[in-house]
Amino acid sequence: MSVVALLRRPALAGQNSLMIGLVLVSLLALLAVFGQWLAPHDPDLVDLGQRLLPPDSSHWLGTDHLGRDLLSRLIVGTQLSLGSVMLTLALVLLLGLLVGGVSGFLGGKVDLLLMRLCDMFMTFPTLVLAFFFVTLLGTGLSNVVIAIALSHWAWYARMVRGMVIAQRGREYVLASRLAGASRWARLRQHVLPNIAGPLLVLATMDIGHMMLHVSGLSFLGLGVTPPAAEWGVMINDAKEFIWTHPQLLLLPGLMIFFSVMAFNLLGDALRDRLDPTREVH
């Protein structure tokens, strides 16, 4: 079922959560895109004379240990967090479609080999894999994105492979009747629209998870590094101030929590829509 058909379904029980999820995610997207202009101050402007101020009229949420406006940093952090997750997702989808498509399409030894590879990657928990790749590639956002993508792609590859195989079965029936149209064209025509729906659901449910990994790695100092205004980094910076200025730590975490919840809500609602006959969710 195509994505468009998915969204046009008549109102069901879960429509509220779908609406709320979409609204929240759109808000986040807006913050990410327009954050720089919405932020009242320059998020990177260090002013040691203004460090660790409580909330006041100029700095609505106060300042951090380097005098930077907390609110601005939180807003700009949306860009980093959402941006990095979207990059990761793009990479995961690319790898998944490529490997899954090739594996399902070619079959045989190639399929066997690629699926063994998938299994291997599926065994490693994300963090262990990320540790390894960051050792290899160094710290920094792009490397963390690669590391997380490498630990998630296998699930997508398997799903794509399954759908391609199912489609191939149907293909042979068609092929006997319609000689001429290239297999690639038909694969594009039939498989991709059918895949889009389930992939969308899987991806939306996964985004929250990926976001937690990105901020977790940045928190450890393995991903985005200071002075970047990433929420995980901000929490790490604020560790020592937990006694005196807990908001420096709690608010970035709240942003992570809120964002992940928005995506999870959307993901849950989309999954319910995709399979409403299942009463279980």
């Binding site: 291997m120 065994t123 490693f124 928990p125 994300t126 963090l127 262990v128 540790f131 390894f132 960051v134 050792t135 290899l136 590639l137 160094g138 710290t139 929250g208 937690l212 901020s215 977790g216 928190f219 450890l220 100092g221 393995l222 995980g232 929490i235 560790k239 937990i242 006694w243 807990p246 730590l249 709690l250 975490g253 709240l254 992570i256 929590f257 992940v260 919840m261 999870n264 809500l265 849950d268 009463e279 279980v280 969710h281």
Partner: protein, 313 residues
Amino acid sequence: MLRYILLRLVLLVPVMLGVSLLVFVLLHLGSTDPALDYLRLSHIPPTDAAIAEVRHALGLDRPLYAQYLSWLWKALQLDFGTSYLTGRPVFDDLLYYLPATLQLGGLALACTLLLSIPLGLVAARWQGRWPDHAVRAVTFLGVSMPNFWLAFLLIALFSLWLGWLPPLGRGGAGHLVMPVLAIALMSMSINARLLRASLLEARGQRHVTYARARGLPARQVWGSHVLRNAWLPLVTATGMHIGELIGGALVIETIFAWPGVGRFAVSAVLNRDFPVMQCFTLLLTGLLMVCNLVVDVCYAWLDPRSRLEGVSA
């Protein structure tokens, strides 16, 4: 059954070899020169002469396969080299720190299972009514919460504000509560949701209708036919949980100054301490594979379909 276990154990060997080779090759073909890293961590200025000397000392001037084979030979004798950073044998250090991590991971797993089961049961039993909604709300929050943030929240609440629990270090039971909770919350939420879904699906199966039709009392139907079948997806999920819990432990340890493998590994990553990373990756891989094996064996024991070479009549 025994044959199945033995077969799986035997298969472990080539996989471990393959992973060790892959890890080795990747590390040595990586973007940096291990010799430079070594010199940097030993605080020796990287002159050309020093680099050449170190390269020879570390055997980095030999062909790659020779390096791998000599590494493998030593590894089989449990000698994984010495850390570039500390100069101490890697294996000894890792083994020293591992129990603390396993303690956290193990307790978190127990916590996950013990807490998620009643939650999932309650939610499925009273589906659609307030206990179900409560469980779903709680698990939804649990799945969305960053574990390191939760750890700080717990510290703020229980150490700073209430003063009930010590915020740092390893010691008695009081030191375990917060780290374990922080690690376990997400897996517990996932597991509770999974159990709920599994129970609801099992309940709708035809064999449950037939059991009721035979006059079996509700409790027996629930116990023998719904629960008994609903466990299966959970067993498979446990393997995944173990991986996530270990990952969680790695992060949480740094917050609570827990003397485990996590902090050790993080510093190794930041300092590109290759011997440590190599051993760490292999050790964890081996551990996870053994855990997966145990999980698969449990699954095979619970589900006769997967272990019997089913020959139909």
